[in-house]
């Protein structure tokens, strides 16, 4: 049966491992508040991205090594991430620090939640399973505005913007403003889009970019639906 839910239905899909050592855009920096954890995706699978109380960013697999609960359902206290299920607590290095049911036990170093590499540029959170050789791509004169998912393909999105894809991104105009669409395919029919805009835009211009992005989604999904 074909899943009707576009994203996050719990399906663990995989793609070629060649993307392991590549920076992938996963979130807008401003969308991850200090002291919170959010779900995101790498081509290798679901991840949990969290910001500690002091504002440092970390990412790891979205799976507690204890019972498989999604760590993005968990919570951040200070500089640690805890699982919502049985409270296993992980440090910034991904190592398990505490097991509440066994308070006197020091967890062995082998228990960890699969720490990943993260970086932030232009208000974009990037993650990689293995450390890439280069820092993530920097787009001078742009900053992240918002993200959304389009149930379509990168090719259909490029067609809807009359632009070509360069380095996994589309440079175009949205709502009369310069915009860069960073794209991360989430499967055969879904693309995570993170839109960059000029940092000095006023409120009306930002809203115009956001509205044009919604219109682009309608257009790209209609193209896909007609195909």
């Amino acid at each position: 049966m074909t899943p009707v839910n576009p994203v996050g239905d719990g399906t663990y899909w995989t793609m070629a491992a060649k993307t392991d050592a590549q920076w992938v855009p996963v979130a807008v920096s401003a969308d991850i508040l200090a002291g919170t954890v959010v779900p995101a995706r790498l081509p290798t699978g679901p991840i949990a991205v969290w910001r500690s109380a002091t504002g440092n960013l970390y990412a790891n697999g979205d799976r507690c090594p204890h019972r498989g609960m999604r760590l993005s359902h968990g919570f951040v206290r200070g500089e640690t991430l805890s699982c919502i299920y049985h409270g296993w607590r992980f440090g910034t290095d991904g190592a398990c620090q505490k097991i509440p049911a066994h308070p006197s036990v020091t967890p062995p170093k082998t228990i960890n939640c699969g720490p990943l590499h993260v970086a932030e540029t232009n208000g974009v959170v990037w993650a990689a399973a293995k450390e890439p050789a280069e820092p993530p791509q920097f787009y001078p004169g742009y900053e992240a505005l918002r993200s959304l998912v389009i149930v379509s393909t990168p090719a259909a999105i490029a067609a809807a913007t009359n632009a070509t894809i360069i380095d996994g991104a589309i440079q175009t105009t949205l709502g009369g403003q310069d915009a860069v669409l960073l794209m991360s395919p989430q499967g055969p029919q879904e693309v995570f889009i993170l839109v960059l805009a000029r940092p000095n835009l006023n409120l009306a211009d930002r809203l115009a970019v956001s509205s044009a992005l919604e219109a682009l989604r309608r257009s790209a999904e209609a193209v896909e639906g007609a195909a």
Partner: protein
């Protein structure tokens, strides 16, 4: 004030949640909605011919629509939770209260199919639920750009309480919330309100409670 209540009903939870936030005592009468279908019993149909819950009874007043119950409780105990005299705020509050019915139909409908095996066109319910979530996400993103956290004006209102439960429980209908960052931040703000209470599927923010390890080391 008597609330005819079902623990798994997001519409009943709206009323319990606002009452808790405003510290209003409720006399809760549990209704065996499933599998007993007690809401269709003669006694409850006499109170509410529509055969739905929640039902709020306060003296001679009988309310059968959750949005009306929110307006009644807020009007009596928390006028700040109602939009003020500004026509734009009043209209936007009405807009979101009406929007909450779309959430109930779409996301709530998908949830009833998935959880309680009700009859319904699941893919169609999920698709209209996703359309509503996209609309909410765009609106909340726009609110964030203006420095706002909640749906109307600068403070939480009955509009937020009316929309929150069916959104938060969307995954019960197999509709993911993973891809809506502004909805996530809005839900967190609601869950952080003093007096917030849980229902099955909507848990509180554990990080706001004292750290048990620090307590143990005292």
């Amino acid at each position: 004030m008597i609330l005819y209540d079902y623990i798994l009903s997001p519409s009943c939870y709206k009323v319990r949640l606002l009452a808790s936030l405003l510290e209003v005592p409720l006399e809760v009468r549990p209704v065996d909605f499933h599998p007993g279908r007690e809401h269709k019993s003669a006694a409850l149909l006499a109170l509410n011919p529509a055969g739905s819950i929640p039902i709020l009874v306060d003296g001679d007043l009988i309310l059968t629509e959750s949005a009306a119950m929110l307006a009644y409780i807020a009007g009596q105990h928390g006028p700040g939770w109602l939009a003020g005299s500004n026509p734009v705020d009043i209209a936007q509050q009405q807009q979101w209260l009406a929007f909450s019915h779309r959430l109930t139909h779409a996301l709530g409908g998908a949830r009833l199919v998935e959880m309680l095996h009700f009859y319904g066109d699941l893919p169609a319910l999920q698709a209209s639920g996703i359309a509503a979530l996209r609309e909410l996400e765009a609106a909340l993103f726009a609110r964030r750009l203006s420095g706002g956290t909640f749906l109307v004006a600068d403070a939480p209102s009955i509009a937020d309480i009316a929309c929150f439960p069916y959104v938060a429980l969307a995954p019960d209908g197999s509709v993911s919330l993973d891809i809506y960052p502004s909805i996530r931040i809005w839900m967190r703000a609601i869950r952080a309100l003093p007096g917030f209470i849980e229902m099955p599927g909507i848990h509180r923010l554990h990080e706001l409670a004292p750290d048990p390890f620090e307590e143990a080391s005292l």
